[in-house]
């Protein structure tokens, strides 16, 4: 099981690197799906089968599909890919990558200096998760319901095309100009 875990981790890191370096949006989204699936495998191995299923259903199945739909609606085409290539061709990405890489090395050093905590690997069933969610974390569930409502209203309000309200006299004069 440990070998499978490390294979999944390497696939996750590699495909995430591919996500941020692609020029075509659809290719990046497909690599993102691969990354999420390998993360789900990791969750399954360390004993979180419910979260693994949620990761596949909601992240890969809903959020990434939402991205795909928006990309299809925008209908970007070849010029967008050319522009992405032009943006990535410069050397502007080197310095931020280097700085965050140094910070990552520090974090890895600090974590690996701590004593090792073996993960139990005992599967926690959805029954226990659900019970704890609706007793201890009930207020969190209510708050996330409010957050989702706010998200729905915000998305509806922002994505709506603005209706142009023109008085009928102006409409007539505009029509005459045309």
């Amino acid at each position: 099981m440990t070998v499978f875990f490390y294979i999944a981790a390497i696939i996750a890191i590699f495909s995430t690197l591919m996500v941020i370096s692609r020029t075509n949006v659809i290719h990046a989204l497909l690599y993102m799906v691969v990354s999420l699936l390998s993360t789900a495998v990791m969750f399954f191995i360390i004993g979180a089968p419910f979260v693994a299923a949620l990761e596949i259903m909601i992240y890969a199945g809903a959020i990434i599909v939402l991205f795909v739909f928006v990309v299809m609606m925008l209908n970007l085409g070849k010029p967008a890919i050319e522009q992405e290539k032009q943006w990535l061709a410069g050397s502007g990405w080197i310095l931020p990558s280097l700085l965050s890489f140094i910070l990552l090395i520090e974090v890895i050093y600090i974590i690996s200096a701590a004593p090792a905590h073996p993960v139990a690997g005992v599967a926690i069933s959805p029954r226990i998760v659900g019970h704890s969610m609706f007793t201890t974390y009930l207020i969190g569930v209510e708050l996330s319901a409010i957050l989702l409502l706010a998200g729905i209203i915000g998305a509806f309000h922002l994505a709506r095309k603005k209706k142009q309200v023109v008085h009928r006299f102006l409409q007539k004069s505009q029509g005459a100009e045309k």
């Binding site: 941020i20 993102m32 979180a48 967008a80 965050s100 690996s112 998760v129 989702l148």
Partner: protein
């Protein structure tokens, strides 16, 4: 043997890759995708920490992060569509001026 340290290191690597993605990309869709990567990495750390003690709390935190990611991506993609309708590009620098 899988240890909590390994899991936290993997989460840290994924988080920093997402962070680099937010910094180096100018396309709004790619920035939203990198933010998704970062939130997924944070959720990974939560689940690992919960699994270390055999407690369900980490998984519940992951579910909350999932909810927040869904709400965020809905609003973010709506903003991306507005940006595209107004400026005919997904470049975030196009919207850097006020009174755009």
């Amino acid at each position: 043997m899988i240890s909590l340290n390994t899991g936290l290191i993997i989460a840290g690597i994924l988080f920093s890759v997402g962070f680099i993605g937010v910094m180096i990309r100018r396309n709004m869709i790619f920035m939203l995708l990198s933010i998704e990567i970062m939130m997924n990495a944070a959720g990974l750390a939560f689940v690992f920490a919960g699994s270390r003690w055999g407690a369900p709390d980490g998984q519940i935190m992951f579910i909350f992060i999932l909810t927040m990611a869904a709400a965020e991506v809905a609003v973010g993609l709506a903003l991306a569509m507005q940006l595209y309708q107004k400026f005919k590009t997904l470049d975030t620098d196009a919207a850097s001026n006020m009174r755009g």
